[in-house]
């Protein structure tokens, strides 16, 4: 290694470490703002600045040194208790962090720390320094005092270089992209964020020593690995998975027990290896969240709002490619929450809310996916306003808006070109916002859902797959070919047998539809999509021909819409490794890639979105199919609500919205006690009052008062709970009644019978609850 290379290496290390340190610095400074007396954090901030200052001095970046130097003075004053951390100092220091970052960027791009002298910033920092109890002469003295350790820092840095060397060698130092996230720290044990600080403190003598000695085992247990290497490893493991699949298939045919057990072992090891390698590419979502507190703080200062950002589940891990992909959409959504969601403090007080708004960011694993929730306790979304805006912007016509439910209206914010902010701020409101969030999340196979209660809260829920490289898929047969359907877009499988199938698949002017639980499901034949001759629909042939046949419908979901794909056969689900198609095949919209199956043959992966588009089952504006499908589909749309069907009297059927019910219970009737003339029961440590629905609605009950078991619908929780006694709980069913958008209906048709709607709150109010 020549001297020049060595210097380059030092510079690179310096940049990587400094970027990392700056990221943690942002967070620390904000924590410090809440807890100004935390010596630990103050010490950490001080060390970080000190390190950057020291190293930049050694490397000859004068301006960088000067800026950090003033910051360091300020911090040392605070550490000594001569100054107290306040908002002014926080802003000053954060500005300094920005300036340092700018200079580091310059150093990275052209090797110098730029022309700007940052005079204004230095002046601000110095004035902050002066505002303390210290007289100016001492300020002058400070630089000299801290310049001394710096001089000795230079040789120290050289000496410590060999110490770093072995680590660096394992870490593949020849990486070209030494941006701040070009490499990621592999953490084999429970390491702490301090790691970065510890490493970067190599070369600064004095107060850092004890700290370093204390946590050196930490740096032994982690190794920096180039991301490219991990990606290669991932590819190799993908190949291994395929080879395993092949061997397993071969083993099943051969029936040799020795081979079987060996394969069993191979299978186990491969699965574990795959899992572990996947883990190395996993990064905690916190790695992008750490920038958020700073962003929220800056926004709040700009807009005069008070927002408390609560983050839960930072440790939730995601594949790093996905982390990168969700970074910007998430930031955008967060800005939106602060900008449009949370109200100004005065407005909050007027609305009877706390002075400070809360934005809650929560991530967790659920069903093989990562769910990220962003919820604010702000003004919520007004569906009426959204509707008006849609009409104004010409996104929808007035008639269309009138036909939409409030939930559909709320989700209109995802429409391209939509923005409700009264005025465009520099934060958000340019009308490119939410649709970008949605498209970006959907691009990586995720989904976005927005819910809101006007005046109370808004919640954005994103569901993201864990990884993209290896996905579970359903393998189907069609016309001699095999195709893989990503499981993420799969809803359910239907099978229609023989002659009956003809009756179940109906035609709407040539288009085939299937009645799936009362909704019309548009059907596409895979043969038609692939332009193949054999599209045999039920009813096409004679009875004899159709007798032994069956049709498989794969119900798929893409772009908020559902359709059925008819295929010849359904094989199995399998973990597949997604491989791109060559450029000769790139222009076929119905395939998203290919994979190698267990027998070594290639299968094509169907692009569900693409199929939907070429088959015209989507209307251009996405979610509008339902509206356009006409009144029939509209009235059968199940997005109304789920209702509990109960029986009162011999023939009376009533429906209660499931959303208002917390539990269904059965009690022995001898457990009913009486208190103040009312029936009560001991339930979960509380006394729960009971009401008889039959009495409330003035119907005769089919049950006599002394029947042995009573069925109770419980509304509310804990001490608020009220039990509604019904004669019999019949069923839970989807209906078109929308309890968020009550039109005042008194009854609906369920299963062909007129059923009365019970508005639980009205009924209970009439009983005095």
């Amino acid at each position: 290694m020549s001297d020049f290379d060595a210097m380059d290496e030092i510079l690179r290390e310096f940049l990587v470490e400094s970027y990392e340190n700056l990221d943690s610095l942002d967070t620390d400074l904000i924590v410090l703002e809440k807890d100004p007396h935390s010596e630990e954090i103050l010490g950490k901030v001080f060390r970080t600045i000190h390190t950057i200052k020291g190293t930049s001095g050694v490397l000859g970046f004068g301006k960088l040194e000067k800026v950090t130097h003033v910051g360091e003075n300020l911090l040392s004053r605070m550490r000594d208790g001569e100054l107290t951390y306040d908002e002014g100092i926080a802003t000053g220091l954060l500005q300094m962090v920005d300036a340092v970052r700018e200079m580091l960027n310059l150093i990275e791009s052209d090797g110098s720390d730029g022309q700007e002298s940052y005079g204004a910033l230095i002046a601000i920092l110095e004035s902050l320094l002066d505002s303390g109890s210290v007289s100016p002469p001492e300020v002058e003295a400070a630089p000299e005092a801290s310049a001394a350790p710096e001089a000795s820092a230079a040789p120290e840095a050289e000496i410590s270089e060999p110490v770093e060397e072995p680590v660096a060698e394992v870490a593949q130092p020849e990486s070209d992209d030494d941006s701040d996230d070009g490499s990621l720290a592999l953490e084999t044990s429970d390491s702490e964020p301090e790691l970065a600080t510890v490493e970067s403190n190599v070369g600064t003598p004095g107060q850092v020593e004890p700290q370093r000695a204390k946590s050196s085992p930490l740096s032994d247990s982690t190794v920096r690995v180039d991301v490219c290497l991990l990606d290669q490893l991932m590819t190799q493991v993908g190949e291994l998975v395929l080879a395993r699949n092949r061997i397993m298939q071969y083993g099943q045919q051969s029936g040799d027990p020795e081979l079987q057990s060996t394969i069993q072992g191979l299978n186990l090891i491969t699965s574990e290896l795959q899992e572990e390698v996947m883990k190395t590419r996993m990064q905690p979502i916190g790695s992008i969240w750490n920038k958020f507190p700073r962003a929220v703080r800056d926004l709040c200062v700009d807009m005069g709002k008070k927002v408390n950002l609560v983050m839960e589940g930072q440790e939730t891990e995601l594949d790093r490619t996905l982390i990168e992909a969700i970074k910007d959409p998430l930031m955008h959504a967060l800005r939106n929450s602060v900008d449009h969601g949370v109200e100004l403090p005065e407005a909050r007080l007027r609305a009877g809310k706390s002075f400070t708004g809360t934005v809650r960011l929560k991530a967790y694993h659920e069903g093989g996916q990562v769910t990220i929730e962003l919820k604010d306790d702000g003004a919520g979304i007004d569906p009426v306003k959204i509707g008006q805006k849609c009409i104004e912007k010409g996104i929808y016509t007035k008639e269309e808006v009138q036909r939409m439910t409030s939930r559909e209206l709320v989700n209109c914010v995802f429409a391209p070109g939509f923005s409700t902010a009264a005025k465009v701020t520099n934060v958000s409101g340019r009308g490119v916002g939410m649709d970008v969030v949605k498209t970006n999340i959907e691009k990586i196979g995720g989904t976005v859902e927005l819910k809101s209660k006007q005046g109370e809260w808004t919640e954005l829920k994103m569901k993201i797959p864990l990884t993209l490289a290896i996905i579970p898929a359903l393998v189907v047969n069609h016309n001699g070919g095999r195709y893989a359907i990503p499981q993420a877009s799969l809803l359910e499988l239907l099978r229609l047998e023989g002659v009956q199938a003809a009756g179940k698949i109906e035609r709407v002017h040539g288009a085939r539809v299937y009645r799936l639980r009362g909704r019309l499901l548009p059907l596409i034949h895979l043969g038609e999509v692939l332009n193949q001759e054999s599209c045999f629909w039920p009813g096409d042939g004679t009875t004899e021909e159709e007798e032994g046949r069956s049709w498989n419908i794969v119900v798929l979901h893409a772009d908020d819409q559902t359709f059925g794909l008819v295929v010849d056969g359904i094989n199995d689900t399998e973990e597949i490794v997604v491989k791109p198609l060559g450029k000769q095949l790139k222009n076929i919209p119905v395939f998203s890639g290919a994979t190698i199956m267990g027998d070594g043959n290639v299968a094509l992966i169907l692009d569900i979105l693409g199929i939907g588009k070429v088959s015209d089952v989507f209307t251009p504006e996405g979610a509008r199919t339902d509206v356009k499908a006409g009144q029939q589909a509209e009235s059968e749309k199940p997005h109304g609500s789920t209702m509990i069907l109960v029986e009162i009297g011999s023939d009376g059927r009533m429906a209660l919205p499931l959303s208002s019910v917390s539990r269904l219970e059965e009690f022995k009737s001898d457990r009913i006690e009486r208190s103040a003339g009312r029936e009560v029961i001991q339930y979960r440590g509380n006394i729960m009052p009971l009401v008889r629905l039959a009495n409330l609605v003035g119907r005769p009950s089919g049950n006599t008062e002394d029947s042995e078991i009573i069925q109770v619908v419980v509304k509310g929780e804990g001490k608020e709970a009220v039990g509604i006694i019904v004669d019999r709980i019949l069923d839970i069913t989807e209906t078109n009644y929308d309890d968020n958008n009550d039109q005042g209906e008194t009854s609906i048709v369920v299963d062909g019978r007129v059923t009365e709607i019970v508005r639980t709150s009205d009924v209970l109010a009439s009983a005095g609850y």
Binding site: K579, L585, I588, T595
Partner: protein
């Protein structure tokens, strides 16, 4: 100066590609047909875990297939800018070294489809060697029908 070409036959014509562009030559493999693709694309081949598109040079060059369909084509896997692509040919020949003096540009009376991808004609002792441009051969443009 001389150039080396990997030669192969399609029907009775002798073709060649720059030997440095050839990654490997493999036996006929089972192929997965890709519906909706350009007719030139015969299918996808699994080349040791890598998925390679196989192109039919008969179609690409507008040459009628031989009568005897028993002979299985051979894959010449080219290493192109867009990744590995396989050319299906009838039979494989030697690697020939041709002096530049024996090379000439293609004649103007050649059919248009072939002229696109043919870069040179080499005058061998007893026949002509038609040299294809590897990159242009695998470039199908927007021909695919949907």
């Amino acid at each position: 100066m001389s150039n080396q070409y990997c030669t192969f036959r399609i029907s009775d014509m002798l073709f060649g590609v720059d030997v440095l562009k050839v990654q490997e030559i493999i036996q006929f493999q089972e192929m997965t047909v890709v519906p909706l693709s350009d007719t030139v694309v015969r299918g996808l081949v699994n080349l040791r875990g890598q998925i390679v598109t196989a192109l039919d040079l008969h179609v690409r060059l507008d040459i009628d297939s031989n009568e005897d369909t028993d002979t299985r084509p051979i894959n010449i896997v080219l290493c192109t800018e867009g990744g590995a692509v396989s050319l299906l040919v009838d039979s494989i020949g030697d690697v020939l070294t041709v002096e530049e003096t024996a090379e000439e540009s293609p004649p103007p009376n050649l059919n248009a489809k072939t002229r696109e991808i043919l870069v040179k004609v080499c005058k061998l002792e007893d026949e002509l060697l038609l040299v294809l441009d590897a990159e242009k051969t695998v470039e199908l443009g927007q021909l695919a029908k949907l």
